[in-house]
């Protein structure tokens, strides 16, 4: 039996979950106004004038006039026409008139009207009803939320009811052996025998259910009918975790949706990538590419969305699915749908959590004694071998440092320098990492929502708040985000629906200005020696002008305050002029305003006994930077859909138009010499040459698109897409691009020959697709490509927006002309006028399966991606050109991969459980065409080779004697004298010298291919359990294999120079008495030993428990007694455990970008309540 509901509002209601919120009084008042409007929607006055109209249409009309919802079996109303003319009639009258001549009867339950066929023998029915056994009960979902709207029917009988808002039902059954059937869209249908007393029924969500509908480009589609590679995650996977932004929440949930965390600093955005897609850019580095992210159909930054507001996330992975979005979708599409109000009584929900967090892993530096020992050791080597050497620590330093180390309470951390009695020589012992990241930092989040609506109009309003304190304690960074939203939908007439979405993200980020000037703003300090104390013996901040003391900068220099308002409004009109056709027009307007003010305050540095030494230079003179950014963006989408079924033929056609325009403006001022450094206002200055800057750019895009879906007999599926795009980024004759795609599917399980095993194999679908998408991204500006993060000035720059037009930059020169710094206009760069869109081609082969009553389901996809005509410097040219070579469409790359997911869901008695495993892999990206590197230099892309290749030497142990080292010509690697304990590389080409040849593929000397940095085998594993009122969830995510080539100061002692501080891991170095060490002899800038080599290629694979949640829902009786509908409390741990072979100084998730702000591990305590 197929139940239909035709109220759009109800339809949405069923898809959405219930969340309970509390709200500030003012907001409540605001919504009360709305409630009054909608309360009048349940009207009893009905006017109809229908002659021989299909019953279905008449019922729809009644629904629209009254708000009452009809439920019926579609076969009961098929081909039944009625005629009725009434004015202001009552519901009862109208229904009686309508159904008079039909074999139908109705029943009113709350606001729902059930239509049923009249029993052949009405009298008997009546009789049965009289002797009926009354049954009552309540229906809940897995998390003990009451489920309203569940249909309960008597198996083989005629009774049916719908649960009320509290999930309660009451029904008369013929006898106590009756079987009740509970069904609800999105949930598994269950059959239970009636039991005496109150029945408690739990329904399970069914994601694999055939009826599930997923969001696709410009519409929705039944999951069973999809032909492209599309993956979806619903809100239940996103909630309950202490995540800052959606990026954190999505990590690992969808196979081959790669989320890279930008670090743990408050306000840091995550970046996305689908299927490892990379392109090449001008800096000779492969660039990970960003998919198009659409929030309710509008391109937005997903990092600014409150995860609590998200209803579902869909990823369109292959070109065929994404093709409808054309030029911006080359790297895949992420569709985010936010929650919507649903008809019914007003609900107020609250969720909140309090979290404490600390860094996952931190660099461990050596202590003062190890440091002095290693420093002097490295210096001796330098002196002995003609390598770098400097002034070593004196004996006095060592003696004093040892005294302090052994008895810190009785010894000073510094003593007056013999060379300069005003200054201390430091002999303390400071663990700077610990000083900077001493403990736990708090976070909290709250979300209140009010939703409801009756009949024609539904609404949802919410207010989210998030606050995070930075982990670097002395910085006192506070990040706050406010996310008010309002969504209203109204079915104004039977042919017209109006919708309005408004949302705003307000963020405040308050941090030390030092982070902006990159002084004291590093997250991990590579250059503050452990001998330096935080404070001089006399109490002033240590540093003395030699070293930046981050605590001093954090405490004494100014603040950097950033405040941002991102305001979005979308108005939507849906017109249904005739059956099967709907026309959607929506217009979005976005204003993004950012105000950033950073001021620098000079402070003094002191020497022995508080002697004034100097003013800390990098915050001097006092200054204030004020940047005001205004970005206006608007988009128009208009599309028409036709959908119909002709017997076994299903047809859906879409045609539409899209237009976008963006206008960016930045005004910046930098003034120095503030009259009062503590009053950071650009107007209050004594600066004779304040700097004023502005950037203004525009961007426009138009596209037309169409899609055709055809299904025959629910078995054979075809989809064809086409899009024609034009962009302002290319010049007129190369600005347009056509992108076609096609996909087919075959529902094997629907075939008659599968009938026998239909009970076991619920679904088996084979899919194939091919598509080509253009890419209008311009290389050379990093990975942030779309409309996101317009505050990244690179994206708004002229070079990005008008890449085919050379501009002459302006600026100041470091030379005085007429007593002021000269102003200059520079020469323009070289541009190629002919370049155009890159093209991304994807072939995809997929399989969806569902077995054992949908208990087991999942999918598998294999894909091949070819990116063609990538914009790269056409050809490497001699430096005599004097400018970077302009890009042209001249490179191709290719990659392939697969993704697999499996889900098992069942229950053992009252223990419900579900296991999900996602596993994916993308091959290395192979450069299939590239002419920019005629010599095949291994420092550039090479045609026929993979991106991320690591070329290096083969480690053959250490030289055992100085003579052995001297006998080998290593001069190409390092000019100093090589000694015992330096690394012996294998002479692969047997020429008696160790060198890199000319660094080309054909002659790389003694180097060879020793690894590749591409990550392989990413996985995510979910386990969900619920038992009675308890629920448990864990989520593990990781990468199995990734070559990592460490090249940082934590890996090699004194990697850069004598100022870099060795880490604990480097202490196992070669000495004449420790010849079996992991590391070679230590040197300052010992470049010879730090060559890429096989021994030091590490596996950065890891598995991390991202989430561990235990929740408890209070029993409904207890909840009722405190006037709530639902109350759940939970505790969640995030990133608590990590398995990796990397040293503690590296976090495997951020190893490749070492030095970023550490990631958090955290513990949260949360509550969810519904009133």
């Amino acid at each position: 039996m197929n139940l239909n509901a035709f109220s759009i509002a109800v339809y949405r209601q069923r898809l959405l979950k219930k969340i309970l919120l509390v709200m500030k009084l003012t907001t409540v008042i605001m919504f009360l106004g709305l409630l009054q409007c909608s309360a009048s929607a349940f009207s009893q006055k009905i006017s109809l004038n229908e002659i021989n109209t299909p019953l279905k249409k008449v019922l729809k009309s009644i629904n629209q006039q009254t708000g009452y919802v009809f439920f019926y079996d579609s076969k009961d109303v098929r081909n039944k026409n009625v005629s009725i003319t009434v004015k202001d009639a009552s519901l009862e009258d109208v229904l009686n008139t309508c159904l008079k001549n039909l074999q139908l009867t109705y029943k009113l339950v709350n606001n729902t009207i059930l239509l049923q066929e009249k029993d052949a023998v009405p009298a008997t029915t009546q009789a049965v009803a009289v002797v009926a056994v009354p049954v009552t009960g309540q229906v809940f979902d897995e998390k003990n939320n009451p489920l309203p709207g569940v249909t309960i029917k008597i198996k083989g009988g005629n009774g049916a009811v719908i649960t009320d808002v509290d999930g309660k039902f009451k029904l008369d059954v013929p006898d106590n052996k009756a079987i009740l059937v509970f069904s609800y869209i999105g949930f598994t249908t269950v059959e239970l025998p009636v039991s005496s007393g109150q029945m408690v029924v739990h329904l399970q969500t069914d994601l694999g259910k055939l009826s599930e509908v997923v969001v696709v480009g410009y519409g929705t589609q039944k999951k069973v009918n999809l032909t492209g590679s599309i993956a979806t995650v619903n809100s239940d996977k996103l909630e309950n975790r202490p995540v800052v932004n959606l990026g954190d929440a999505l990590q690992g949930l969808i196979p081959n949706l790669n989320v890279t965390l930008g670090g743990g600093q408050p306000g840091t955005a995550a970046t996305f990538n689908v299927r490892g897609g990379t392109t090449l850019n001008l800096s000779s580095q492969p660039v990970s590419t960003t998919p198009l992210v659409l929030v309710d159909g509008v391109a937005r930054d997903p990092n600014l969305i409150d995860p609590n507001d998200v209803a579902s996330v869909t990823v369109l992975k292959d070109a065929a699915s994404a093709a409808i979005y054309g030029g911006r979708a080359a790297n895949g599409v992420i569709l985010i749908t936010t929650k919507t109000g649903k008809a019914g009584p007003t609900r107020v929900s609250y969720s909140g959590s309090y979290t404490i967090s600390r860094p996952t892993r931190l660099v461990q530096q050596v202590n003062s004694m190890e440091y002095i020992k290693m420093f002097n050791e490295a210096n001796r080597t330098g002196l002995k071998s003609g390598g770098y050497s400097t002034t070593p620590f004196s004996e006095q330093d060592s003696t004093m440092a040892a005294a302090y180390f052994n008895a810190p309470n009785n010894n000073p951390t510094g003593y007056p320098d013999p060379a300069n009695p005003k200054r201390y020589r430091y002999v303390g012992n400071t663990d700077w990492t610990k000083v900077l990241y001493p403990g736990w930092a708090p976070q909290q989040q709250h979300n209140v929502s009010v939703s409801g609506g009756e009949g024609k109009t539904t609404f949802l309003g919410s207010l989210g708040y998030y606050r995070q304190d930075g982990l670097e304690k002395s910085a006192n960074q506070v990040y706050q985000r406010y996310t008010p939203t309002l969504k209203v939908n109204s079915d104004v007439a039977k042919w017209l629906t109006l919708g309005l979405n408004m949302s705003m993200t307000h963020t405040d980020n308050n941090q030390p200005a030092a982070t902006r000037i990159n002084q004291g703003g590093a997250w991990l300090y590579s250059n503050i020696p452990p001998v330096m104390p935080v404070y001089n013996p006399d109490g002033n901040f240590a540093g003395q002008g030699n070293y930046t003391n981050p605590l001093a900068v954090n405490a004494l220099s100014g603040r950097d305050i950033d405040s941002q308002n991102d305001f979005w409004t979308t108005g939507r009109v849906v017109i249904r002029p005739v059956d099967h056709v709907s026309v959607n027009v929506d217009y979005t307007w976005n204003a993004l305003n950012d105000n950033r003010k950073a001021n620098l305050i000079p402070f003094n540095e002191y020497g022995v006994n508080g002697t004034f030494l100097d003013i800390y230079p990098w915050t001097n003179p006092s200054q204030v930077i004020e940047n005001k950014t205004n970005n206006n963006y608007n988009a128009l989408n208009a599309f028409a859909t036709y959908e119909n079924t002709f017997g076994k033929h299903y047809l859906k056609a879409l045609v539409g138009y899209n237009q976008e325009y963006q206008h960016y403006m930045l005004g910046s001022t930098l003034v120095k010499n503030l009259i009062d450094p503590n009053l950071p206002s650009s107007g209050i200055n004594n600066d004779t040459q304040p700097q004023v800057g502005s950037v203004e750019t525009e961007y426009a895009l138009v596209g037309t698109f169409s899609r055709l879906n055809y299904i025959y007999d629910n078995k054979y599926l075809v989809e064809i897409n086409a899009r024609y795009d034009g962009t302002s980024r290319f010049q007129p004759n190369s600005r347009y691009s056509f992108s076609p795609s096609a996909s087919v599917g075959w529902n094997v399980a629907e075939e008659s020959f599968m009938e026998g095993i239909k009970g076991t194999l619920n679904q088996l679908k084979i899919r194939a697709s091919y598509g080509q998408l253009p890419n209008q991204l311009v290389p050379g500006v990093g990975s942030t490509g779309q409309m996101l993060n317009m505050l990244a000035s690179s994206v708004a720059s002229s070079a990005y927006q008008y890449p085919y037009i050379a501009v002459q930059q302006t600026g100041l020169v470091n030379y005085l002309l007429n007593g002021q710094q000269g102003i200059m206009v520079a020469s323009p760069g070289l541009v190629s006028s002919s370049f155009t869109w890159e093209k991304v081609q994807t072939k995809n082969l997929g399989l969806d399966y569902s077995l054992f009553n949908d208990k087991l389901n999942g999918s598998f996809d294999y894909f091949i991606t070819n990116i063609k005509d990538i914009l790269v410097p056409g050809q490497q040219l001699p430096s005599t050109l004097g400018a970077p070579v302009p890009p042209s469409n001249s490179a191709d790359v290719r990659s392939h991969g697969w993704e697999f997911s499996v889900n098992w869901r069942d229950k053992i008695n009252e223990l419900h459980y579900s296991l999900t495993l996602g596993l994916s892999n993308t091959s290395n990206t192979r450069v299939t065409k590239y002419s920019g590197n005629p010599t095949n230099s291994i420092n550039d892309f090479i045609q026929g080779q993979d991106l991320g290749n690591i070329y290096g030497y083969v480690n053959d142990g250490f030289y055992k004697t100085d003579a052995e080292a001297a006998a080998v010509d290593n001069s190409a690697l390092a000019g100093y004298k090589w000694l015992a304990g330096d690394i012996k590389y294998k002479d692969l080409n047997g020429d008696g010298k160790i060198n890199y040849g000319d660094n080309t593929l054909s002659n790389m000397g003694d180097k060879k291919l020793i690894g590749n940095t591409t990550p392989h085998y990413k996985f995510g594993f979910n386990l969900n359990l619920s038992y009675k009122n308890f629920d448990f969830a864990t989520f593990i995510q990781g990468v199995l294999k990734q070559d990592f080539y460490p090249n940082e100061y934590v890996f090699y002692a004194f990697r850069d120079d004598e100022y870099s501080i060795p880490s604990q891991m480097t202490t196992n170095y070669w000495t004449p008495t420790n010849t079996n060490a992991y590391y070679p002899r230590i040197r300052f800038s010992g470049g010879g030993n730090e060559q890429a080599q096989d021994k030091y290629i590490l596996n950065a694979g890891y598995a991390r428990i991202k989430q561990l949640t235990l929740g408890y829902s209070l029993p409904s009786a207890a909840v009722k007694s405190i006037k709530l509908q639902k109350l759940r409390v939970y505790v969640t741990g995030a990133n608590l455990f990590t398995i990796t072979s990397l040293n503690k100084s590296y976090d495997p998730e951020t190893a490749a970008s070492f030095g970023t702000y550490p990631l958090n591990k955290s513990l949260s305590f949360g509550v969810q309540a519904t009133f």
Binding site: G386, E395, P732, G822, M824, S879, G882
Partner: protein, 584 residues
């Protein structure tokens, strides 16, 4: 039923029409045509004098500034705590050229001086043609301006000045260079893949460019801009370098250049605009000249590099105090005694057993460029013993040109001491040397040049007739006059960055072999005992108690390949017509 279908079809037709109209309107050129709103594009530029001037401003940071920091570390004058890799023989061929590109344009020509970070031996940076391209782009476009030719030629003169200076630097570094004298683009294959132009031919073009600048730059330029005399100073410098190079490398045609150097120097001298800075205090004038807050208007400044409080400041004073730098024993030995005789001959020389002895009875420029007892390191922190064993000095001969006791100047990056770009004293030295090399040096010439310098510091005059060959001369086979002019130049221009160029043009690389060039002061056991033991415990001395800076070697070994820097390997593999310099 049929009727309904027809009705539906009609609607579909409407929709289709609507869709079609949308599709056809898609080619919305006016909507898609967007051009820069806040950037200058070449099509509208170069229309008036201001445009030309603002464009030329970008060249100025490329001027070579004598700011003392690390200058001459690559010579026999100094021995820094950190050994110079080129002279130590450990310099490796860079794989690629380093560019000053920024955002697709050439914004930053401040590659080697303003920021105070001269890194010698930078063949990667030197093989960069961004400034040359900026100059050539100007030359291809300046004619668009609707202004008198004389005005245009001022800016052409500036452009050619910088182009000449840059090519001269390339010649000094690489010998033959790729000579690009017009605007090229990525398709200009014949230029991009052409061979290097021979040294002499490049220098002839350089001289032509400079002559244009001399002839067209104004005598009284706007504040800070190049004028005729700055161009003449460059001409004198370049021509002396090229003339002596041609002479000592035996490649011929040197007379023209030596004569041109002399002519240019004389033009400057005869202009009457410049004279040596002096307040009549021979014991301090020379030192004070280099710690001037304002060199604009200073009679010795042909072109100063100026700094102003809160406008443009530098951190050189501070850096010099912490550079671990030091003059070599060889440099110190070369300073005359106060009687005008070399230490090997003068009865006044008291030996070098103590730092005080060594500084006694010497050319006053000794104490005015080397820290001796009583020098105020910073705000009353007086030096007693040379601060060896610390970051202050490596050799014990702490250079103090540009170093003051001022706290204001010590504040990092807050000093406003000006530096010289062209100093009149150098012009006098050029005149003396060029004339001597031409065999035309008379006592009058010497009186007008060398003896002016000596007058300032109270040294006895150089009298040609009385000159005696120094038995410990670095140039035993040279005529005594040229030898002594070279000594005067070495002392007067100490730490100003000329020495390695001089060694190259004199074909005198083997000076580097002298062990004294990497020795420091004498640290006798008696003297060592005066220091805190732990401060000097790591200092190594040789058999004669001179500080050995680099204990692994007793002397450096000159290799003739060091006369030229290597070309980055990538450039050679990209352009087969470019061959590596010999020995690399």
């Amino acid at each position: 039923m049929l009727k309904i279908t027809t009705m539906k079809n009609k609607y579909i037709l409407y929709i289709a029409c609507a869709a079609l109209s949308i599709v056809t309107s898609c080619k919305r050129e006016s909507f898609l045509n967007r051009s820069p709103l806040s950037d200058i594009t070449p099509g509208t530029y170069f229309k008036n004098e201001t445009d030309l001037q603002l464009y030329c401003n970008q060249y100025y940071p490329a001027l070579t500034v004598q700011n003392f920091l690390k200058l001459d570390d690559n010579s026999d004058d100094k021995a820094n705590a950190s050994i110079n890799s080129l002279l130590a023989g450990t310099y490796t061929v860079p794989s690629a050229a380093t560019h000053n590109y920024s955002g697709g344009t050439t914004l930053n020509f401040d590659s080697n001086n303003i920021s105070g970070n001269v890194n010698v031996n930078q063949s990667g940076t030197d093989w960069d043609f961004a400034l040359i391209r900026a100059c050539n782009f100007f030359l291809a476009n300046y004619q668009k301006a609707n202004i008198p030719d004389a005005t245009k030629n001022i800016y052409v003169g500036e452009t050619l000045f910088f182009r000449a200076n840059d090519f001269w630097k390339k010649v000094k570094a690489f010998g033959d260079v790729s000579y690009v004298n017009h605007y090229i683009v990525d398709s200009s294959k014949s230029v991009l893949y052409g061979p290097r132009m021979p040294h002499k031919q490049v220098m002839d073009s350089v001289l032509k460019d400079i002559n244009f600048a001399v002839n067209n730059l104004p005598v009284s330029p706007a504040d800070g801009r190049l004028g005729k005399y700055a161009a003449l100073a460059l001409k004198a410098r370049v021509c002396l370098w090229e003339g002596t190079y041609r002479k000592y490398f035996g490649v011929g045609d040197e007379a023209t250049y030596l004569q041109a150097a002399s002519d240019a120097a004389e033009q400057i001298m005869n202009s009457g605009l410049y004279k040596l800075y002096s307040t009549g205090n021979p014991q301090s004038d020379y030192y004070n000249l280099f710690i001037q807050d304002e060199l604009k208007g200073n009679s010795e400044a042909i072109l100063p590099m100026r700094y102003l409080q809160s406008v443009l400041m530098n951190g050189i004073d501070r850096s010099l105090g912490e550079a671990g730098d030091g003059y070599s024993k060889d440099f110190v030995n070369s300073i005359l005694c106060s009687d005008g005789l070399p230490t090997s001959l003068s009865p006044l020389y008291k030996g070098d057993d103590t730092p005080d002895d060594e500084a006694t009875n010497r050319d006053p420029r000794y104490k005015q460029q080397i820290a001796t007892r009583g020098f105020d390191f910073l705000a009353g922190d007086l030096i007693t013993l040379p601060r060896i064993g610390t970051t202050v000095t490596s050799t014990g001969y702490q250079p103090i040109k540009g170093r003051s006791n001022s706290l204001a100047a010590w504040n990092a990056n807050a000093s406003v001491y000006d530096f010289f770009i062209f100093r009149y004293a150098e012009v006098l030295l050029i005149e003396a040397e060029a004339k001597a090399e031409l065999g035309l040096a008379t006592q009058t010439i010497i009186d007008n040049t060398i003896n002016k310098l000596r007058d300032r510091v109270g040294m006895p005059h150089m009298i040609i007739a009385n000159l005696v060959k120094d038995p410990k001369s670095n140039f035993p086979s040279l005529p005594v006059l040229i030898d002594e002019i070279r000594r005067e130049r070495r002392v007067e221009l100490g730490a100003e960055g000329f020495r390695f160029d001089d060694i190259k043009r004199w074909h005198a690389g083997t000076l580097i072999n002298n062990p004294n060039t990497i020795l420091g002061m004498k640290l006798t056991p008696t003297l060592r005992a005066q220091y805190p033991a732990q401060q000097v415990s790591n200092i190594v001395v040789d058999a004669n108690n001179y500080i050995r800076l680099y204990p692994s070697i007793t002397n450096r070994t000159w290799n003739d390949k060091m006369y030229l820097l290597p070309i980055p390997t990538q450039e050679i593999s990209l352009n087969p017509n470019i061959k590596q310099n010999p020995g690399w």
